[in-house]
Symmetry: C2
Subunit: 162 residues, 2 copies
Amino acid sequence: MDPNTVGFTKHDHSHCISDAITAADRMCRDAGLQLTPVRKRALSILLEEHRALGAYDVLARLSEEGFGAQPPVAYRALDFLTKHGLAHKIERLNAFIACAHPNELHTPAFLICTTCHAVAEAETDPSHSLLSQIAETTGFTIARAVLEAEGTCPNCREKSAA
Amino acid sequence: MDPNTVGFTKHDHSHCISDAITAADRMCRDAGLQLTPVRKRALSILLEEHRALGAYDVLARLSEEGFGAQPPVAYRALDFLTKHGLAHKIERLNAFIACAHPNELHTPAFLICTTCHAVAEAETDPSHSLLSQIAETTGFTIARAVLEAEGTCPNCREKSAA
DNA sequence: GCCTCAAACGTTATGTTATTACATTCTTCG
DNA sequence: CGAAGAATGTAATAACATAACGTTTGAGGC
């Protein structure tokens, strides 16, 4: 399994930030979007932390670095990132996390460890799609969907067993 | 299709409230839980509205009826209901809705219509479970999960097509 | 190059959602 | 009855989010 696929395993974090920024740059250029300084910095903050951050956490870091200090500064940057698939909002936590699989069109599933508070983004198998099954049986047209699970990650499970 | 399974179809609402209350009463008695007046009233408010209500909406109605007027009154009642499967929180909306399938152990999927704001609780097929697939491939132990989809319900879709 | 216009940004103010903390009352059960 | 735990009420505050408005920036047409 690709270590980056599931965030509960150690991985080489040194390059993944710059790689992700580069990818975001390219994506925005190709799509005619402006990855402005605030937006880029907000993304890199999420990438650096590699966990779900509240909007006010991001705001605090942005304002320390000379960006505006008012909530809309953070919310607007985060809105941009989530709108264009560079980050996701974890509804359960009212928090934001950098997307682990940008580029790919995907419906992410999040696994939230209630012990260590890590959040992993798991890929769902589209061929197996629960969502299309639901859409079919109910006549509902799905625009966006979120799947969030709370529980215990492999690391914490191991520790508690020891 | 059972009209109550998917909330987008008309159904006989006159009895479903009292039936649900009766079922909740029995469930709590059997489980040794106290379905106190505030809790029961909070549940009936959710049932009457038959849609997702914010905690402060519920609070307003409770306080009108002589219950406490401070947020914890509503949050505690709603916590009780959600903890014991009588209601669910829709994270996407920061709102609460009475459970359409009490008794049954289930992982509900919610369909949120962005046009009429109706929320339906769809049953997921456990044998088909996306969640167990994820748990298996990641080693994550899932305690609770929420699946929420936004889109257009059959009724609104029909109207916009007309 | 320069003008125009829409997008992005900054700030003030306010709205909405949720929790902490603590005193009081009710229930259960020995 | 009396103790212990659960449930309730209230005050205060924390945490999350948006509306509204003026200013700045920079992309694209001329």
